[in-house]
């Protein structure tokens, strides 16, 4: 278990007091900014592709929809499968930066694959697969590096900083794609988009290699982490309960796609308006990630994590009610952004310090995976329910489900008072 500096403190009250004072003075480590910068560049590169790939495949190459559907399937299945394995390898050999680097590198190289493979189905599968494989490999080692670089008292703020930079990248990507396409008027400029995307991703990789410090720990214990030790993480009662609570909340979590589809169905939006829905959520997430992280560090990360789900509950209630009009859409998306700001990085910040340092990658990957598993079950259930009843009734059902999940989560892990790590 993680032992804070000055762990030989006296009474809990004094300890909490000093920890707070120290936390306020603590700075987010440079490593977190460097990792944020890497994510920003990688997201710019990825979003450039996302914004043109549909048009490129369907109109320019006229690849069949069956192929595109197959590629979509690859998109969702690969990261979950591989993240756990990669995370375990990163811990076993204590090479987190290496695994993250392979992940970022694969995604960068895949960008150049597009102009090479042309219309070939297997080629396109390989290119998109490499990109997704890269994403699966890098996520958990990256979060572990953020967690390991940061003192326990400001984990929330550090993850907030990282997620903000990440989201800024997602905003800039499509704009840069437009500029790269705009330099040449014709469709023949698609290869320029891919090359520019590759160059930006490579700068991200360089930033990782040169500006980010690895964490290999602990030097004192044997280097190899047995597979059983990784599984043994779940033997820790506290962590197991966090995983369980995150899964239960995941099952009651309506995915973004469905939230946007419900809005689309109510308001009959155009394609452009539909695309703007995600921008609304990201905008609010971007602005609130750091404040939410700071507040989580002060009043308790689990408490903020649960409050974030209250924000999600508000989104459901708005959708289940007499929804309509641009004002309500804006309010809904803003609250949806609150939900992300208060949950995504905050959960990692909450779980990180309770995991042994040498197993942090595997632990965080495990937590992300069970949450994703819950969300996957939720999506299947939502899709099925929507085929037999109206969206209002389905969202109504999810209001009840989320309330129950919140109660269960609060019972499983009591919202802590402060964030002073246990001695």
């Amino acid at each position: 278990m993680y032992i804070p500096r000055g762990g030989a403190a006296t009474t809990p009250a004094v300890r909490e007091q000093t920890a707070r004072v120290r936390a306020a003075r603590e700075r987010v480590p440079r490593n977190v900014y460097a990792l944020g910068f890497v994510s920003l560049l990688t997201d710019v590169s990825a979003e450039m592709i996302t914004s043109v790939v549909g048009y490129y495949l369907l109109v320019y190459l006229q690849v069949s929809t069956i192929t595109v559907g197959f590629l979509d399937g690859l998109y969702s299945a690969i990261p979950v499968l591989l993240s756990l394995t990669a995370a375990y390898l990163a811990d076993r050999y204590q090479r987190r930066k290496l695994l993250a680097g392979i992940g970022y590198g694969l995604s960068a190289v895949s960008k150049l694959g597009f102009p090479v493979v042309g219309r070939s189905v297997s080629g396109l599968g390989l290119v998109q697969g490499a990109d997704r494989l890269g994403k699966g490999l890098r996520t958990a080692p990256r979060d572990a590096l953020i967690s390991l670089s940061t003192p326990a008292s400001i984990q929330g703020r550090a993850f907030g900083v990282h997620r903000t930079m990440d989201t800024v990248g997602a905003f800039l990507g499509p704009l840069i794609a437009v500029v790269a396409l705009g330099l040449s008027v014709a469709a023949t400029a698609f290869d320029a988009v891919f090359v520019v995307s590759f160059c930006i991703a490579t700068i991200g990789l360089l930033a990782l290699l040169l500006l980010v410090a690895d964490h290999r720990e602990p030097a004192a214990t044997p280097r190899k982490v047995p597979f059983r030790a990784a599984l043994g993480l779940l033997a820790d009662k506290e962590f197991r309960r966090v995983c369980l609570a995150a899964t239960v909340l995941g099952v009651a979590w309506i995915s973004d796609t469905f939230i946007y589809l419900v809005i689309q169905q109510r308001l009959a939006l155009t394609a452009v308006q539909y695309a703007l829905l995600a921008v609304g959520t990201s905008g609010s997430y971007l602005l609130l990630a750091v404040p939410a992280g700071r507040i989580a560090d002060r009043i308790g990360r689990w408490r903020v994590f649960l409050c974030g789900h209250l924000a999600l509950l508000v989104v459901y209630l708005l959708l289940a009610g007499p929804f309509g009009g641009p004002v309500l859409v804006c309010v809904t998306l803003a609250v949806h952004g609150f939900f992300y700001a208060m949950t995504d990085g905050v959960l990692m910040a909450h779980a990180g310090p309770m995991l042994p340092r040498e197993l942090r990658t595997a632990g965080l990957a495990l937590l992300q995976s069970v949450r994703a598993l819950g969300a996957f079950v939720s999506s299947l259930a939502f899709g099925f329910a929507w085929s037999v009843m109206g969206s209002r009734e389905v969202v109504g059902g999810y209001v009840v489900a989320l309330l129950l999940a919140l109660v269960a989560a609060a019972c499983l892990v009591h919202p802590e008072k402060g964030t002073v790590p246990r001695p």
Partner: protein, 353 residues
């Protein structure tokens, strides 16, 4: 806590060489990105210069001798412009000012599906009418996705389109389509067929994953055929514009196209699980429901069109590059496919009446 991580966590100074190497590497990559973009722009300019645009006509002669209207696909100044060639395929094409991803014309009405590549890409359907050689814009409809199929009824009254909607897909290998139509006589716009009531084998069919694509119109301007996809299957549906209903005819039919005499449908049939060769062109006799595979053995992804009552035509991707050729094959399963027009896509027979 080990001392090495302590140092890193507290932000020990980065070695100078790391910062300089990063700066140099980034500058190199930015230069490469800018250089390649400029190169791509110049290459495009050179391609246009090597194959300059023909003079574009502003009118569309849709009547007169039988012709084939199509989208020109060769790289250069004429790319993506509507072109017209004699129905024999022999003879120089003439070009029009319209720039389309997919087009169709019948009864003096032209529909052109295109995109505007501004900051946020928008897609639209432009409907033109050709009155004694003068082409006028009747309507412009914003589309919810990437253009895929277009059709006009024989007398030019009804216009239909299908687009791909990427935002609709969730949980699995599915891609959504949206099919809409416009009645030029009444001005009625149906943005999506999903508002119609569907039935399969006489029983009402409900599902959240229903998609429609590829309309083809009957001559009565009331009935039409279209593909319905749901739960991994497809059906040929007969639609009714008076009752807003759709009922299934047969299973496994995509992108139907009704013959000029209204007796047969050419369509693509899913014959293989292989992603590279999923389809084969078939002709369905509507009276007997007998299906005949055509002599074209390649997998064709197109809504084929009828050159005349005995021949169908369709686009085939060229083996290199991003261009297309238009091929023809007899509609009775005999013969061999042959190239009708080079560097073209989205074919449609016009004139001859």
């Amino acid at each position: 806590m080990s001392s090495s991580s302590e140092q890193a966590a507290q932000g020990a100074r980065l070695a100078r060489w790391r910062i300089w190497t990063f700066a140099a590497g980034s500058a190199l990559m930015l230069a490469a990105a800018a250089g390649y973009s400029l190169y791509a722009a110049q290459r495009h300019t050179a391609e246009v210069a090597a194959s300059p645009a023909h003079p574009f006509s502003s009118s569309l002669p849709l009547s007169g001798a039988p012709k084939i209207l199509y989208v020109f696909s060769a790289v250069g100044g004429d790319q993506d412009h509507l072109a017209e060639s004699p129905a024999s395929g022999v003879g120089a094409p003439s070009f029009f000012a319209l720039d389309c991803a997919r087009a169709y014309a019948a009864g003096q009405t032209v529909v052109c599906l295109g995109t505007n590549g501004s900051l946020v890409q928008t897609q639209y359907a432009e409907v033109y009418r050709d009155v004694s050689g003068k082409t006028t814009l009747l309507d412009k409809i914003e589309l919810p996705g990437i253009p895929s199929r277009a059709r006009v009824s024989a007398d030019g009254r009804l216009v239909a389109w299908t687009v791909f909607v990427s935002g609709d897909s969730y949980n699995g290998p599915q891609f959504s389509t949206r099919t809409g139509l416009l009645d030029l006589k009444t001005g009625t716009l149906i943005p999506s067929l999903e508002t119609f009531t569907a039935s399969v084998d006489g029983k009402p069919y409900h599902a959240v994953d229903i998609n429609y694509w590829g309309i083809t119109f009957e001559r009565d301007d009331e009935h039409f055929y279209v593909t319905m996809g749901s739960a991994g299957k497809t059906w040929l549906m007969l639609g009714d514009l008076a009752t807003h209903t759709l009922s299934s005819v047969v299973e496994n039919v995509e992108c139907p196209s009704l013959s000029p005499d209204g007796t047969r449908i050419v369509f693509k049939k899913r014959v293989s699980g292989n992603l590279s060769t999923p389809w084969r062109l078939y002709v369905l006799d509507l009276a007997t429901l007998k299906e005949t595979p055509l002599a074209e053995t390649r997998s064709i992804d197109d809504q084929a069109a009828w050159l005349d009552d005995d021949t169908v035509m369709y686009q085939v991707p060229q083996t290199s590059g991003s261009g297309y050729d238009i091929w023809e094959v007899p509609a009775d399963g005999t013969g061999t496919p042959r190239i009708l027009i080079r560097n073209g896509s989205s074919p449609d027979a016009v004139g001859g009446s």
